[in-house]
């Protein structure tokens, strides 16, 4: 069964390749607002929503810390645990700024994830259609968009 699912089809091939090469257990591709474009490994919608919201919040916090330090920004963040690591990276694409959240286990490493993250970014930038940038999230249509995204990701 295919574990990688995408709301936007152009993200699928680069993401599948990244997962296969990096050994990532879970991966989310999303906008800075937490809208998910693709995911790998999640089996429950509630986990995707939580991970996307928390990942977007971490990136927003670190971006603000970077601003206070007069830094241009932190390109990647890595949280190393005993059994798992969390890697967060952001990049500019023709579809605007995008975030990638990766959870990796003992079969992978931060070095491998970083290495193949660079290739993922190249693949996504090359594959992204330029005509449409992600729209700002409005409270009025947020729930509908969220439900549509989750239906695409989980086939419900």
């Amino acid at each position: 069964m295919r574990q990688t699912k995408a709301v936007e089809a152009w993200t699928l091939e680069p993401l599948e390749q990244f997962v296969a090469e990096s050994g990532a257990q879970l991966t989310l591709l999303m906008t800075p607002a937490g809208q998910v474009l693709a995911q790998h490994g999640f089996t429950r919608a509630v986990d995707v929503m939580s991970a996307a919201a928390l990942g977007a919040a971490i990136v927003a916090s670190s971006t603000e810390i970077a601003r206070l330090l007069d830094e241009p920004g932190f390109a990647t963040l890595n949280h190393q645990g005993v059994k798992h690591g969390i890697f967060l990276g952001d990049f500019e694409s023709p579809r605007g700024r995008l975030l990638v959240l990766v959870v990796y286990g003992p079969d992978s490493s931060v070095g491998l994830v970083q290495l193949f993250f660079e290739e993922l970014v190249e693949g996504l930038v090359a594959a992204a259609p330029a005509e449409e940038r992600p729209q700002a999230v409005l409270a009025a249509n947020f729930e509908d968009e969220l439900n549509q995204s989750l239906a695409s990701l989980f086939g419900r």
């Binding site: 992978s108 490493s109 070095g111 491998l112 970083q114 290495l115």
Partner: protein
């Protein structure tokens, strides 16, 4: 980079045919110290060599053969050698296919001892 690490790597890169040497954090696959010729993709070699060493260590454990002391991959275009050092550090060298593997191995084992 610390002088001790630099000296350890210099002794490896002095051997003819060696294109570069690195100290790599074995669990993370990240470079601790490096002495590489231009064109060697250090980050990629470090991450993949650490991953390989981890897999080979698991294979050796499964075969009840203990821990690997030396990993040597010979390709058409070059050679990759990995020697585990104490504290989870790996000494990694890349070189020409015809480099003196025996001498490189000796220098890498000395480097592993020197950084302990």
């Amino acid at each position: 980079m610390s002088t001790r690490y630099q000296q350890a790597l210099d002794s490896v890169t002095r051997v003819r045919g060696v294109r570069g040497a690195m100290l790599v954090a074995g669990e993370d696959g990240l470079i601790v110290a490096e002495a590489l010729m231009e064109g060697v993709r250090g980050k990629a070699v470090a991450a993949l060599a650490a991953s390989l060493q981890k897999r080979f260590r698991q294979a050796m454990e499964a075969a009840a053969a203990g821990n690997p002391h030396f990993l040597h991959l010979q390709g058409d275009g070059g050679t990759l050698i990995v020697v585990p050092a104490p504290d989870g550090i790996l000494v990694v060298a890349v070189g020409a296919p015809d480099m003196n593997v025996g001498l490189v191995r000796l220098e890498m084992l000395r480097a592993a001892e020197a950084i302990a």
